[in-house]
Point group: D2
Chain length 348, copies 4
Amino acid sequence: MHFASDNWSGAHPRIAENLTHHASGFAPAYGTSDLDKAVEDRFSAIFEREVAVFFVATGTAANSLALASVAKAGGVSFCHADAHVNADEGGAPEFLTGATRLFGVEGDEGRINPKALEAAISRFEPASPHHGRAMAVTVTQATEVGTVYSLEELDAIATVAKARNLPLHMDGARFANALVALDVSPAEMTWKRGIDMLSFGGTKNGCWCAEAIVFFDPDMAADMPFIRKRSAQLFSKSRFISAQLEAYLDGDLWLDLARHSNAMADRLRAGLSQKSTTRLAWETTANEVFAVIETSSADRAREKGARFHPWQPPQGWLPLPEQNQTLIRLVTSFATTEEEVDQFIEVV
Amino acid sequence: MHFASDNWSGAHPRIAENLTHHASGFAPAYGTSDLDKAVEDRFSAIFEREVAVFFVATGTAANSLALASVAKAGGVSFCHADAHVNADEGGAPEFLTGATRLFGVEGDEGRINPKALEAAISRFEPASPHHGRAMAVTVTQATEVGTVYSLEELDAIATVAKARNLPLHMDGARFANALVALDVSPAEMTWKRGIDMLSFGGTKNGCWCAEAIVFFDPDMAADMPFIRKRSAQLFSKSRFISAQLEAYLDGDLWLDLARHSNAMADRLRAGLSQKSTTRLAWETTANEVFAVIETSSADRAREKGARFHPWQPPQGWLPLPEQNQTLIRLVTSFATTEEEVDQFIEVV
Amino acid sequence: MHFASDNWSGAHPRIAENLTHHASGFAPAYGTSDLDKAVEDRFSAIFEREVAVFFVATGTAANSLALASVAKAGGVSFCHADAHVNADEGGAPEFLTGATRLFGVEGDEGRINPKALEAAISRFEPASPHHGRAMAVTVTQATEVGTVYSLEELDAIATVAKARNLPLHMDGARFANALVALDVSPAEMTWKRGIDMLSFGGTKNGCWCAEAIVFFDPDMAADMPFIRKRSAQLFSKSRFISAQLEAYLDGDLWLDLARHSNAMADRLRAGLSQKSTTRLAWETTANEVFAVIETSSADRAREKGARFHPWQPPQGWLPLPEQNQTLIRLVTSFATTEEEVDQFIEVV
Amino acid sequence: MHFASDNWSGAHPRIAENLTHHASGFAPAYGTSDLDKAVEDRFSAIFEREVAVFFVATGTAANSLALASVAKAGGVSFCHADAHVNADEGGAPEFLTGATRLFGVEGDEGRINPKALEAAISRFEPASPHHGRAMAVTVTQATEVGTVYSLEELDAIATVAKARNLPLHMDGARFANALVALDVSPAEMTWKRGIDMLSFGGTKNGCWCAEAIVFFDPDMAADMPFIRKRSAQLFSKSRFISAQLEAYLDGDLWLDLARHSNAMADRLRAGLSQKSTTRLAWETTANEVFAVIETSSADRAREKGARFHPWQPPQGWLPLPEQNQTLIRLVTSFATTEEEVDQFIEVV
């Protein structure tokens, strides 16, 4: 019963196999092999336009270097206050952008509130050396708390950003989960909404290590080869990423894995909703479930082998857990089984 | 006939297999799983003392973050003028250490000359805000040009560094190749020589992506978890590195692969020495061979499928190639075959 | 009627004179002259213990480099949400500390609330590479909004910081104004309260350009010469700072100027309190006055030559100005005259 | 007999007086006062085109921030190997540009050799993430060793830079001394030669603290207000710089001071040339003189109160001082008197 995080899972067999398949033979290093190029082309096909793709080691690197590509002195990037980039990346976005700043914007259930975004940006308008200047907006899709921006919600964010000529970045550590939750195309959820740069995450959804920065306007990526190398994020045997992504994208495996993962979360949601002793903390649609359960149930589940993390109640969220209750986070992945879910629902 | 670089090879079958072996199941993320810990223990066993180990994405990251762990304002690190860290890492060592500086020291055949090192350091003595202060010494073993420091040569460098209380770093991108060339133990080539920090490279020698920073005094690594995360180098599915290293170190596979690689280089050296139209540029002992060959031979070899790079003659190196000659670099790897070598010798 | 800012004033005649007095002759550069040393000794005398003093160009530099002296990877410094360091220094604290972060803490009237501080720090406890680690606490004395921490309030902050072994910094851009408002000694307001590092500001209180970082434990300043030079903040003709400070500190001129400045603010406060159409926004004790006045009065005053800035109502502050009212900030300085004050009160 | 450095002198009386003159009254802060603007206009007049001017605290700041304005990831700036920016600025250029690199180019007598520059740049061509990319060229005028580039020599450097579209920076810490040595106009020595950015130094030539970055194309300076503030180099009471520069530039005082300074160096040169026991190390034309003198003479001069520094013989410079000889540097300034010079010549 593993619900601690989707990065506790390993790699999908087809991805592992393809890596082995490409283990022999020689190929040019540093992202210049035929396989690397084929995978890049695949990205262009998937996004229905020519894109520039840069592999990096971690989601943190993808987010940080995407912002680094638009960094400027005195720059401020706007994200949700609880976004991963702000809360859990150890200062990497600041460090790797040359000490620009992040500004946390409020919004319910992990989504930036467009009005709050507007108010936040206006604090830096007009640009001034004293308070700095707006530099970028970054949204997380799916969000840190399992919710997903609708296309209309993305449009509302984009409208605010574009009115100020601000580049718009999407942290897609769980991109596939959001995509299948909305049942839209990659293009519809990104550049058609005004997204300029995407952190495309494959690691959480069945890869070993496959993160890419996608630029929808390749001209915006002119400095990226230098920015990436300067940050020690250029792999020599780049094909070990490409091989993963080749299998990941082939035959829409990535979407199938995300559908499975979301379905397991649905099953969790359904099961937990039916119990009198648990309640869903808020409605989620991707592969994370947040539930208020009795602390004794949580303890019992852990004893029986369930793995999950408690979660800090978000600011302003109500009603708070009662004294004998706990807010917990449950994350499903491509590797989660129905049996695990059912067993968990039974023990809590 | 692939002699372009050892990073053109893929992964050794046993490493690829072990990665697949560990693909299923759940394990704690961010380097806290049992497998991660077992591999760390293995490092301690191999180095015959308790060490602290940090996986990172690239050799550039290993070098840069090792130096970051001893960084200080106005700091200057001393390396060979042609060292990878100085010539080929895109400014990452400077960037990831918070803008410290590198100072290139001369020395024949890629090895730092201890007297030149002493003279270089003395330019920064006593420490001053104006010219800065010495911060670290870094040696490359094996060097960029295929040579290997003897233990005595390492001692001479360490004597200079230790007299000034400077931490000593070893860039071991080709650590195994040097080790088997010298036929000494890992301990003898590192901390017994005074090495404080090692960039332990597995990628070039049969792994997909396996680079680690090893601290021989774990107390020196207290800040490393923060330094690594800040640089976006903390893998979530850390076991994909551990699985590679488990196989790599198991049964001394790593040493066997390096022995094979060096033997292939020996075979190249022997073959090229016997030809009247080629000469070895300088004596190498690891898995790189530098040769002066007729340009027409080089062209012919390329036509027949040989892959290799020309090499810029080092400063002061004599005699220079004649007009119709070229200096080339040939790199062997775990995947090089005797047939490839023999074929190459035949065609040049 | 100049109430825009205390940095709109020039230099006090005795300071200007002393600068001229020291204009001739030769003296060692970079802070090593007899005059420089005498001024440093004077600081030790004033603070009743041996201190280390570093002149820098701006208050922003003083704050930033004080924090740089305790910077570490993943570090977070806690300040009031509206503190100058957070709101008005263009990202310099982040940039000059190598991309550490600031965390804004709430608190009424510009003072950090100790409980809020504790809660804020606890978000980073225990230290983790993901969320980072606490690095320093910085208080502004007098605050950005004209208030002053009492000794007890400073003790409460220090208790929180010291319990976590966090260095405590004081931004003393208006240090003298706070000092005379509390009528305590420099020692009592700083190291006796647990302050480790002080940004000692002279510029706003009658100097041209005289900012110093004072370390109450000189051992903490070991890296400062390098940190300062690396940030291009080491003056060659350092005596031009020393000469200002010599006059500034001589015969307690600095305290007299601050007393005058505060007295002018008192006069403003008294005058504005008596008017039926204006009210003080909150109680201040240093040389800033915040008042809610009728917008038409503000306009009229400006027409008659009064210079002052509108002020953004702080979050949560009540009652807000009504529709035809404005919140304004009035700053007095050593150069403010009673006539100016009285004239202003008359015209609003 | 003060020949240690031109920054051992104080301020010229007219400059000190003007500072006092502007000490009273109120003026907008942060460089927006009428005086600030008048001085900026004066710069445009002097350089015969509209320029953008940014005051900073030190020459190191001017050099570092000028380079920061053209900084890019993986960037390398080319300077003379012994240039101040490379040898004596404590890593500030690297730090304040976000960790770009400097590359020292050889050249006789402190001047970059254009062929060596071309060779140095070509090491970074074509641009590559591995070795980085050329970012700027910076020349020092007058050089660190008292020599001055002729207009033709500047043209030769500019030709190399412009052919590669590289911005060209001039470190003019001793700008005035070079100008009067060449007897040309400011325009002729700068933008008419292709200089894009100038560090205009007033401090060494009679100001207290007056350094400015001049952009000959104001569009290139768009980010400078943010870059400067981020580096804590924006003065609040900016008029204390403007007041100095007003007097400095008024009636060509700056040129007169530099002429005096150079004339004193001429007198030194003439006097030392005539002595049998001393020789000029190399020919200089600005306000620095380098001489080989008997060590006993140097000691005797010091005993009699002469202040000067020994100098490290430049690489490759011949003939080296004999065993009983020393290479010394003598720097004159606006405050040097004929009597000092004559006395010095007598005692050595």
